[in-house]
Point group: C2
Amino acid sequence: MRRVVLLTPGPSPVPDEVLKEIGQPLIHHRTEEYKKILEEVFDSLKKVFFTQRPVLIFSSSGTGAMEAAVSNFINSKDKVLVIEGGKFGQRWTEILQAYKVSNVVKVEVEWGKTLPASKLQELINVHKDVRAVFATLCETSTGTLFDIKGYGDVIKKRETLLIVDAISGLLSDPLYMDEWNVDVVVCGSQKGMMLPPGLSFLSFSQKAESFLERSDLPHYYFDVKKYKKSLDNKDTPFTSSVSLIRGLHVALKTIIDFGVENMFKKSAFLAETIRKIFVEAGFTLFSEYPSNAVSSIVSPVDSIRLIKTLRSRFGVSIAGGQAHLKGKIFRVAHMGYINEQDLLFGMLCLDKVLREMGFNPKCSLASKLGEVLNESSNY
Amino acid sequence: MRRVVLLTPGPSPVPDEVLKEIGQPLIHHRTEEYKKILEEVFDSLKKVFFTQRPVLIFSSSGTGAMEAAVSNFINSKDKVLVIEGGKFGQRWTEILQAYKVSNVVKVEVEWGKTLPASKLQELINVHKDVRAVFATLCETSTGTLFDIKGYGDVIKKRETLLIVDAISGLLSDPLYMDEWNVDVVVCGSQKGMMLPPGLSFLSFSQKAESFLERSDLPHYYFDVKKYKKSLDNKDTPFTSSVSLIRGLHVALKTIIDFGVENMFKKSAFLAETIRKIFVEAGFTLFSEYPSNAVSSIVSPVDSIRLIKTLRSRFGVSIAGGQAHLKGKIFRVAHMGYINEQDLLFGMLCLDKVLREMGFNPKCSLASKLGEVLNESSNY
């Protein structure tokens, strides 16, 4: 009888109408019917990315799109800069290393902290010949937001690309690709996009397009030029993930009807509310510059045990800390389709399990959330 | 009111119980519940591949797994041999070229014909230093079967890998990976596996494992060692395609209950029946060594128009010819979940549209199929 409640930063819950569409009998991917779906999907994705440029769809996890960003836009001799503020910032470096791009300036930011745009400016003044800056919109491992708009200002007049992992941030934290001069944006399906995992997305600026010719790194399945050419023909170069893309079609309609900026507002409201309550209840926030997608809380108890108990007893999934933060923090997501109902039940279970584990919050997280929601004009 | 009838060599139809499972609400991928699913899936995949070795799962189309076979097992200096009997044989060469593996012996086989193992033996006698032979179980573009068992005998005692694209053939054409000494097998989800597109599979022999250390080609998302390590922990290195893998779980149960070898028999019966009927009705088979997965028929009319009409009038999808075979052949699949009911209706519509296009089959394809099915002890 138990229902699963996902408060994890991916996979996040998927609306029923999307699940229904995903479970439809298969149609062929080279038909007019499917071309029409793809056409509408490609149009809607532009609205979600705030770009006039094409948005490509890969069948892969978000990491596949990150690899595509490296293997299509970078030359092995390039000097590149990576902002590493957590596990996913580090992933950029790992991919660059896998491709033997050796001239990497690693900017290690303490986990939970961010890098001000002024600091990037200083770094760029020193490393004038950097051809690409790799950044993360929301660093999922710490729940920290990075100043992509500011980085865009630093980069825009240079022959340098700003390449952004927006996998967990998109649709929760504002990102205006064209207006902010972001050159490459990658995203996954299982976060703000309200879909199961299995699709990833990549959009690239006109400036980035010129970098395609400079790249000498190998790629075949993730060949951006091939996907771009197919897209012009409302097609995909390899067999399309028909079922997930039909789900995407419905999810994007829902998102656009609701309003992309309303998605930001919804996540911001839930994020700010939850964090205020945690602070009032005596918890410490882990991130100094938190994202709308996920909140990291310093755990007053062993977070591994906390998470296991929440899951096994109540079916509530929250995330723990990664690497050196294992056991030390827990993370509650409020991205995509996660709503106040999910959070309310999650807080109730947290109240209960924390008390059982010997920590008494100063006030009940669930009661406090109930009060705020009662008073809020948002609900 | 119209139902879609898929007689295409992927996507092929998906059983209702699999679709239902795919449409279930999301669960998290790092839970005991999901680990149990993965464990059962990994076990079942070994039965389907007839191997004791691990079978890895990627979120990608089949081409992604082909790329993984190249980028993990090949060294850029290697001399390799590619058997090219159609579009998918050519894909091996394209991937090798993308990775700048330049020492490629291309064995071009006329489309629709096959390469006897004795011929491969002769080639290997000349090119003794070949480190890998790339082959295709069923060349989907022509519906031709290749003698993988025979190639295995040629290769087995050498320090050479036999790498096989079994994307469309697996579960229709017999393939006994361990017994036949196949070193790398790749597969996709949307064919014999009775799933939507979006997953791919790769298994590799002990011999192939030793080649992992020799490879100098870059890979990150398709890093075989990383997937192997995760598999040992009943996990996947990147966010798992939860919904499709839950569908896979149900599909594999269905397949194993039915019997993997019964899947071969079922496809063989349908394939032989269909081809006998086409010949009786005055058609010419295109392939001289046809696969159980798909039949290629020389089209007596423009096959592009034929296919369009079948689809728009009756919702029946068959496939056309690719490259120089465009308009010249049509292909009817009988893989995976495709059954006699689908084929019977397909033949009825083919009868009708062919007559309208000015070609009168010597006998009705549908009536003939009905007769055979009536007399057969299989039904």
